[in-house]
Symmetry: C2
DNA sequence: TTAATCATGTAACACGTTACATGATTGC
DNA sequence: GCAATCATGTAACGTGTTACATGATTAA
């Protein structure tokens, strides 16, 4: 998956490994996180597959950099991936794993758990307005409004997910509060 | 994470590896999937940590089975994990990765993409009523209504997620349809 | 002058997937 | 008799994480 993400970025324009890392860190991290160590490893693989090629650049002022270009085979692979059927979604949610076993903790602990969750599990680092305006800035620079629309869709998803998460936490809290009330009545 | 999931299950009751696999497959797969090969490997680790112990049982009618029990140290570790602060959510969404680069495909292709998504990315294998009634059945058997509440919360999450995903797809489709309309007007 | 950024990696480990191997028991 | 289920694993590979190493340039 990371392979195809890197291919997608190199399809926009040639970059070095460090630049790829910064794009992931600054723009894609809300739906995909990648370490430099992994990126450089994947770049080796991509070159072995013949999907990218590299060229050492003697930069005027800066450090030497190893510029990476997508090849025709790489572009073909990118399109193949985009058009292939999505495999069944494989979920692996640490959040739900922990929720599932929370019966081992007290109700008060768990109310606290759900109160803290929306902050802890926030999708975006900065606030949403910033994300959208960053996206708008890209759009103007690159001047490909149709591509930018799909970038916006991913942000929309993040926003909707955050809202849903908050709603879910509220529901859980109110169900737990109800139990607390009926318990205290029962005790009298 | 899988380690703690297994600990949580063994905390409910002793089981063999195969039974753990069936619980993941039949009840937890909508938020966590695990292969037998991985489960058996993790079981070895858990035993090395001293969090579980095993006992070969000569079963009357069946195959021998290696029953697994949580230890006191294991119970302690389970609680430590439940009470520790949640680490920042690390997202890795193949769905959004693919969405991000869909500018390479035609608008019609993409409308189709979003139309198919809700089915492809369905959270539950069976329908939701079945999931809830399965959960109710467990609840009656185990007779721990307070634990079952948290199981229900995880199902609630899945249901809300599916709704949100559907809504998001609808939004994307309608934005794409708008562009198609304005394009065809512009062409005239 | 000192911290941040630019730039490229290696090594070891942890976690997840795929394929394979084996054999008993149970239900049709 | 045959397929499905019960039961336990190994091996190889792919992917992700953590820690480390190195050194130049740039801005405060």
């Amino acid at each position: 998956m990371l392979k195809h993400g890197i291919l997608g970025l190199l399809n926009y324009s040639a970059m070095n490994g460090y630049q790829i890392m910064t794009v992931f860190r600054d723009s894609l991290s809300f739906f995909w996180q990648a370490q430099t160590s992994q990126i450089y490893r994947e770049l080796q693989m991509l070159e072995e597959h013949g999907w990218i090629s590299s060229k050492r650049m003697e930069k005027e002022n800066k450090h030497d950099s190893n510029m990476l270009f997508i090849t025709e085979a790489g572009r073909k692979e990118l399109l193949r991936w985009l058009k292939e059927d999505n495999p069944k979604n494989i979920v692996r949610s640490p959040l739900l794993m922990k929720t599932f076993f929370r019966g081992e903790c007290s109700i008060d602990d768990n109310i606290d758990f759900f109160k803290k969750l929306p902050q802890q599990q926030a999708v975006f680092n900065s606030n949403k307005d910033d994300i959208y305006s960053l996206n708008n800035a890209y759009t103007k620079n690159i001047n490909e409004p149709l591509k930018a629309l799909y970038w916006k869709f991913t942000i929309d998803f993040g926003v909707m997910y955050e809202k849903m998460l908050f709603q879910w936490c509220q529901n859980c809290i109110s169900e737990l509060e109800k139990i607390k009330e009926s318990d205290s009545k029962g005790d009298k």
